[in-house]
């Protein structure tokens, strides 16, 4: 059965491995180049927060962005691809070609055929996701970034999130193939499913923990830029929370273009009048808590899809 799994799915496995290897080489090259740049151009004591290091920080940011744009789409596109090319054809193609009637009438029971395929390919998909996470996690420290938690794209490329996402996508694809019995519609369902899941989890992630709360009296943004904001409300000098500060208290003029000069002036005026701004947020120290919560949700959903696949397949084989 292992041989058969490898023989039937080696194209997907090899292409995925090649793409990951190419990304690995790109990241390795980028990291080496950035290290060389730092050792050649860094003033003493840099990288660090000192003003003397700002030029270096800017140069590193440019290098980081140039490479990040190449694979920044991965948190949503990679699971869609895994689901469409690993998951959907697993059963969809067998039904389409009629080969399920060949495969499932050999001495190996269907139950085992399906269990081996789901387990082996699921484990490989999760491992590939983990490989992505390891590569990105080794590459990023070179650039002194501080957006591991607040940037949801980065968050889904590090830690255990990619492994859970890729496993989920594979099982979603397998279930779609088992239900629809056609590869192409199953692929479409996977893309739709991954999109919906992304936005659902994005909305849900606020509730992974009770948000922390802090009251600001001189700016509407937090000192830690890597926090995830949940909500913000104005508090009047008497300590009451307001849905909206009273009109007419401070002049409010719309901003033109991408400037927010007028908005900032309005906020400075409110702070000057004794108003404060309460912020609910998740601090970056919750990184692993959020990682494991997301991974647990996705893994539970993966198991549900695997169960659905097995149920459908065993129940109606022809």
């Amino acid at each position: 059965m292992i041989w058969l799994t490898w023989r039937q799915h080696r194209a997907q496995i090899l292409v995925t491995a090649a793409l990951l290897a190419a990304l690995g080489l790109l990241l390795l090259g980028s990291a080496v180049e950035a290290k060389l740049y730092v050792s050649g151009h860094a003033p003493p004591g840099c990288p660090g927060p000192a003003p003397a290091c700002w030029d270096l920080a800017m140069a590193l940011a440019d290098r980081y962005d140039a490479v990040y744009t190449v694979f920044g789409w991965m948190p949503i596109v990679a699971p869609a691809l895994i689901g469409a090319f690993w998951g959907a054809p697993l059963l969809g193609r067998e039904y389409e070609r009629g080969t399920h009637r060949l495969a499932w009438t050999q001495s190996v029971p269907v139950r085992r055929w399906l269990a081996v395929k789901l387990a082996v390919l699921g484990a490989l998909a999760a491992t590939a996701g983990l490989a992505l996470s390891v590569m990105v996690s080794l590459w990023r420290p070179v650039f002194q970034r501080n957006d591991l938690f607040g940037n949801i794209g980065v968050f889904n490329m590090v830690g255990v999130a990619p492994a859970a996402w890729w496993l989920y996508a594979f099982m979603l694809g397998a279930a779609a193939g088992a239900l629809l019995r056609r590869t192409l519609p199953a692929m479409a369902l996977v893309v739709a499913g991954i999109t919906v899941t992304t936005f659902t989890l994005f909305g849900l992630s606020e509730h992974y923990a009770e948000p922390a709360r802090t009251v600001l009296s001189d700016a509407t943004f937090l000192a830690d830029p890597d926090a995830r904001l949940v909500s913000g409300t104005w508090i009047d000098p008497a300590g009451r929370e307001l849905t909206e500060p009273p009109a007419g208290l401070c002049p409010r003029r719309p901003d033109a273009g991408r400037s927010n000069r007028n908005q900032e002036a309005y906020e400075r005026c409110l702070f000057g009048a004794g108003y404060r701004y309460a912020v609910s947020f998740h601090p970056p120290t919750r990184f692993w808590r959020f990682q494991w919560t997301e991974a647990a949700l996705l893994t539970a959903a993966s198991l549900a899809f695997a169960g659905l696949t097995v149920h459908r397949t065993l129940r109606r084989r022809v």
């Binding site: 059965m1 041989w3 080969t99 009637r101 084989r317």
Partner: protein, 284 residues
């Protein structure tokens, strides 16, 4: 003698439709049984139930020993080479006979390094048949193995199948629309019509029992004695009856033995009649 394949009260319901109802039949070991019937009669469903792809809704299916199946359209993995197709069989079947499979393909001059998609239809059928035979089954179930083959390939497949049956204890159940293809190789007949078994029996016995009578129309309304009319048709003043059993001697009838195709067609046109081995059905 334990039948190679026995179904008892077999019924299969797919999506609220009964595809098979109360099918009881037994094929003795060593027979080559032809399974015939119109499209939608339930032939494929009966075969799927026999090889375990379907679970019966009612009744039972018993196969004595191992069953191997060649499905309709002879599915194989197109991207596999012939050698990989044999590896597939070896990896998925404990009793696989690799030497036999290689020798059979060599005898048919089918190169093992060729991809399945690059083979002719006849060669694909032979590869699929080899995969089924190399499992050393006791019962071989073939669903329309001759469909989409040219007459020469049809003949070759049937002949090579007959060679296998002569060489070893093997029971074959083979379905087809084309009765002429099955006439030479098969010695057992199962007629399936509208999800019910209409005929199940030894072909020679069936042919010996059935007669075609032709005579004047008014005779057809009278009694035919112990013979049971399967099908009656009239053209002008001439009546033609296909009967089972010995008719009362009457010189005005001209009688001749029924052909296999005639016999099958007569039953298919008269779904209410049946020729089953149960004694009650014979004497009725």
């Amino acid at each position: 003698m334990i039948p190679a394949l026995r179904t008892t009260g077999l019924g299969v319901r797919l999506r609220r439709t009964w595809v098979l109802r109360d099918c009881s039949l037994a094929v003795p070991p060593g027979r080559v049984a032809a399974l015939v019937g119109p499209n939608g009669a339930g032939k494929t469903t009966l075969m799927h139930a026999a090889v375990g792809l379907l679970s019966p809704t009612t009744g039972t299916v018993d196969v004595a020993g191992r069953a191997a199946f060649m499905a309709q359209d002879k599915p194989l993995y197109d991207s596999f080479t012939v050698a990989e197709t044999l590896t597939f069989g070896r990896r998925l079947n404990p009793g696989w006979d690799d030497a036999y499979a290689a020798a059979r393909l060599a005898g048919l001059r089918i190169p093992q390094d060729r991809r399945v998609s690059g083979l002719s239809g006849g060669q694909q059928a032979q590869v699929a048949l080899t995969v089924a035979l190399a499992r050393r089954p006791d019962l071989l179930v073939l669903d329309e193995p001759l469909a989409n083959l040219d007459p020469l390939a049809r003949h070759d497949v049937m002949r090579s199948l007959m060679v296998e049956v002569a060489d070893r204890p093997l029971t074959v159940l083979i379905s087809s629309h084309v009765i002429a293809d099955l006439r030479d190789g098969c010695d057992w007949l199962v007629v399936l019509n509208g999800g019910r078994v209409q005929v199940s029996g030894d072909i020679d016995d069936l042919l010996a029992e059935h007669l075609v009578l032709t005579g004047p129309t008014d005779l057809a309304d009278g009694s035919t004695g112990r013979a049971r009319v399967v099908e009656a048709s009239r053209t002008g003043r001439q009546a033609r009856l296909l009967v089972r059993g010995a008719p009362a001697p009457d010189p005005r009838w001209s009688a001749r033995p029924a052909g296999l195709e005639e016999l099958v067609m007569a039953y298919l046109r008269s779904p209410e009649t049946a020729a089953l081995p149960a004694p009650a059905a014979v004497r009725a």
